[in-house]
Amino acid sequence: MKMVIAYIRHEAFEPIRADLLAKGFPSMSVSEVKGSGRQKGITERYRGAELTNYLRPKVKIECVVADGDVRTVVDTILTHARTGGVGDGKVFVLPVEEAYRVRTGEAGEEILQAHPDAAKAL
């Protein structure tokens, strides 16, 4: 089991979500984050004060997938998040010890099985 964490541009999120859903990966957590990196800050002006904001808004996606699915998920994210400019983001893959389904108490990689029919269920 691996956790995939991706920090991406806002506009990349919707294509990634749609593509992952189509490939059978509906499960993920998403949060709005701010961060700094090599991307330059943006200049703003308020009543004569000029300032630069080095924290840029990003979307953070977290999902835990079976080892065999890591490549698919990471490639999907890379495909849609890449514009070629500084600030496209990063993807990290972390090992995961164990996973439990709260509803039933089941454990193990089986609970992370891809859902091929996820898109149809919606």
Partner: protein, 436 residues
Amino acid sequence: MTVSILAAATTEVNTGDTAWMLAATALVLLMTPALGLFYAGLVRSKNTLNTFMMCIGAIAIATVMWALVGYSLAFDGEGSIVGGLGHAFLHDVGFEPRAGTTIPHLVFFAFQATFCIITTALVSGAVVERMRFGPFLVFAALWSVLVYAVMAHWAFGGGWLQAQGTLDFAGGVPVEMGSGFSALAAALVVGARKDYGRQALLPHNAVYVLVGAGLLWFGWFGFNGGSGFSTGNASVLAFTNTLLTPACTLAVWFALDAIRGRQVTAIGAATAIIVGCVGITPAGGFISPGWAMLLGALVALPSYAVIVWRTRTRVDETLDVLAAHGIAGFTGILFIGFFAQLSWNGAADGLLYGDAGQLGSQALAALAAPAYAFGMTYVLLRVLGAAMPLRGTERDEAVGMDLVHHGEEAYATGEGAILITPESGVEEELAVAQPV
């Protein structure tokens, strides 16, 4: 707003009339920031300020153009298509009563200016979230003269529509159909937002939308109630109808929402307030309170249908100016042709009271106004688009108009911000960063 309905046109300024018109002018001016709030709530948070600023921009640009030439082209002389230039640069606009009214000419000018402002601001609803701010200001300057002033002349200033008998109390022709059908043309020329039809583009603050609609309704009492230019019967009738009609529209809209989705929506309610106010705008001083309530119920139907239909098309007329203003104004103008009542308005009867000719006059306006507004705006934006790009890049749209065009955020937290002072050692101006 016909001069003819003011039977006793005196040459004296009436203090009571003037006092009301001063207040009414301020009420109508409030409608434009209220529209800014209404529109800002309907867009995504990254475009809040830009959307609001288009309305504020209209106050600046339309007022200047109105004082320079617009007012004169609308209200100087009885030319068939446009007025003269006798009042350009406010020439001969002073303390003496405006012909046909009992209020100073300056007050009449200011009251009419607020109409030009709100109408220009209304059109922005079609192009928010992608049109560049600079080209919008240029568009506002030209549109307020070429479309608004011309159509105001037709309906209020002695132009051909008024001359052939069209009744338009407070602006069904220039304000409502003028903005609504121009909005459709603007949406077609500027084109859809890049995410339109691919993602759900949701209103970011429904409370702004409700407060904005409430303040618009409040201002509309000056808009309609002031369009008799007096404290006389026509103004009183229009004022009270401005309460009755939107209330009925709201009730019917609730029912339509409930039938269609089993839930009554807040954004729908805000829309209904606008639709009702628009519906009574042309008819305010011409129909009885009872018919005004029927109008309120009827006007909801076509506008509701157009909103439902429009969102299923590729036409990104973003904030539904066509449905809320163009279609509702069209309904109101035609309604007068059936239900105008001489005993209430002292001017004319409609079909129901024996004058079928009035319906013809109204129908003519209902055809001519949309055609001119759509055609002129289409040509204007095509020409403007050849001279300068009307919209930014896809990246600009992704970042949001607030940062791209104004360098500000509506909801800045201050986290991560560094003040750039001369002592901070930042020598060269920081380039505006790569978009997010």
